[in-house]
């Protein structure tokens, strides 16, 4: 893998974001609004429930972590969509750039953009509502790692779906986090869910993070082994997403879809 080629994708994203307010604002505005909205919601819930219960680390913290995952996913898909929107596939794929380098570039772009979002969320949630992720202790690192890895996997999967089905399929991609969240138990324990939903939850890496987070906030002991499953599943999901993207790309090269992508000739 040639780093300079992956860096080309990152540089392209940097140029695009630097010169465009419509790309800069979404990096931090929506997540900041989310922090304000859920911050006040947490405060309100604190005021109407039994004293001692603190919704800030459980609810606002959950929103922050979920937004982080969403931003990681969108960091990958947005970078990919830039090539879709500018009909740039030929200039990208008819070059020495390999698929690994291209996807690597998308991931590196996502690391940069999602880090900005995370930083802004930490600042707003911390300054306005007193949320500190250090409440989660050392588990914070694996929590963020699992969410990052799963966000990358969702991003690569979403990009593959759009590559396979055409530009209009981006509308399948935007709601993916919303579809996953009820199963991931972002706002409630998995025990709340019916059996069939819980079975799906156990396959989703974020569910281990949010179960762990709630256990820690409630003062309970959280097993690191359980989180290892989350890490393992997230790594597996990345491998599966990478395999799926490569398979879709090969199909596109075989059928000529890459060269005529905007035609949406393949259904």
């Amino acid at each position: 893998m040639a780093l300079n080629r992956a860096a080309a994708i990152v540089l392209r994203q940097f140029y695009l974001i630097r010169g465009s307010p419509s790309r800069i604002f979404p990096l931090f505005v929506w997540v900041a609004i989310d922090m304000v909205l859920w911050g006040f919601m947490s405060r309100y819930l604190n005021s109407v429930t039994a004293p001692g219960l603190d919704f800030v680390p459980a609810l606002l913290g959950a929103v922050l972590l979920w937004d982080f995952l969403t931003r990681v996913m969108q960091g990958v898909t947005m970078a990919f969509f830039e090539d879709v929107w500018s009909r740039n596939f030929l200039n990208v794929f008819a070059t020495p750039l390999s698929i690994n380098e291209y996807v690597g570039g998308l991931v590196l772009s996502s690391i940069a953009t999602s880090s900005i979002g995370l930083l802004v969320m930490l600042l707003v949630a911390g300054a306005a509502f007193g949320l500190s992720l250090f409440t989660y202790g050392l588990m914070l690192v694996p929590f963020l790692l699992v969410l990052f890895l799963f966000g990358i996997a969702l991003g690569i999967f979403g990009a593959a779906v759009v590559l396979r089905l055409g530009p209009s399929a981006e509308w399948f991609v935007w709601p993916i986090p919303a579809v996953v969240s009820p199963f991931a138990g972002v706002f409630y324990p998995l025990s709340t869910l019916p059996e069939w939903m819980r079975a799906i939850s156990h396959l989703l890496p974020p569910s281990y993070v949010f179960e762990g987070m709630r256990t820690i906030v409630a003062g309970g002991a959280f097993s690191g082994t359980s989180l290892l499953w989350g890490v393992g599943l997230a790594v597996l999901d990345i491998l599966l997403a990478g395999w799926f993207f490569t398979r879709v790309y090969r199909h596109a090269v075989r059928t000529g879809l890459i060269a005529r992508y905007s035609a949406e000739s393949v259904s």
Binding site: N4, A8, L11, Y15, S86, N88, L90, F93, T95, P96
Partner: protein
């Protein structure tokens, strides 16, 4: 026919089939160093399909493509490092400036001394004043010059040009032809060129291949071929290829 060591492109028995439709039917040809080869034929003849296969964005059903002896199917990145292209249907992203587009492409092609190379090309293609202009607001002629500057970035050994002068005014087209001619004569690369402008082809190409229904029907010097086939001009020969390819196949 260029000798083996002089070939920058060697295409053997190349075939592309979509279901029952054969787009390219076992064509073979070479492009030599310092040679400009014209790939001619009516719409749907298989020219762009052939170029897409050489660019690695379309997988052949059968056949082989060697770029400077490197097998595209087995060593894709190494083969495409020696190649570059400009096509009228593949403009550079309009939301990046000329310089940004050249820098991103230069990184992808691993160009050494990229900043200096970009400056050199901005001067060569008269783009200095557009350095910080977004490509999307340039005229067709200016965009074509940017696309050609991008295509020259890595000093390719094989330059693929798919109708590079389409939609250009005659003066700009003449200027572009001169630059490509210069690329072929001064460097060590070869050019595969498609065009529907027979005047241009006669002026620029050293050799032409007439393609119809995915097959190479005729090959030779564009200035001698019409006479050899009893036609007054290359354009007349082109029309015959387009309308009566079977007559030429039988001949």
């Amino acid at each position: 026919m260029p000798s083996t060591h002089e070939r920058v492109l060697s295409v053997q028995a190349l075939r592309k089939q979509y279901g029952a439709t054969v787009a390219v039917d076992g064509i073979s040809f070479d492009v030599g160093r310092n040679e400009i080869v014209g790939l001619l034929g009516p719409n749907g003849a298989g020219k762009t399909t052939t170029i897409n296969m050489i660019l690695g964005v379309l997988e052949p059903t059968a056949g082989s493509i060697l770029i400077e002896g490197v097998d595209l199917a087995k060593r894709r990145s190494q083969a495409l490092e020696r190649t570059n292209f400009a096509a009228v249907y593949s403009p550079l992203p309009g939301n990046l400036t000329v310089q940004q587009n050249l820098r991103v492409s230069g990184l992808i092609y691993g160009v050494k001394g990229l900043s200096a190379r970009i400056e050199e090309l901005l001067v060569q293609f008269d783009l200095v004043r557009f350095r910080d202009t977004k490509c999307g607001v340039l005229s067709s002629g200016e965009q074509t010059r940017v696309a050609l500057a991008k295509a020259m970035l890595n000093r390719p050994q094989l330059l693929l040009l798919d109708e590079p002068t389409a939609s250009l005014d005659p003066a700009t087209a003449k200027d572009i032809r001169a630059r490509i001619r210069e690329f072929a004569t001064r460097g060590t690369g070869g050019v595969l060129w498609t065009s529907h402008n027979m005047y241009e082809v006669e002026e620029v190409c050293d050799r032409v291949l007439f393609v119809s229904r995915g097959k190479v029907l005729l090959e030779g010097d564009p200035r001698a071929l019409p006479r050899e086939h009893g036609k007054a001009s290359l354009e007349e020969l082109f029309i015959t290829v387009a309308r009566e390819p079977l007559a030429l196949e039988r001949a």
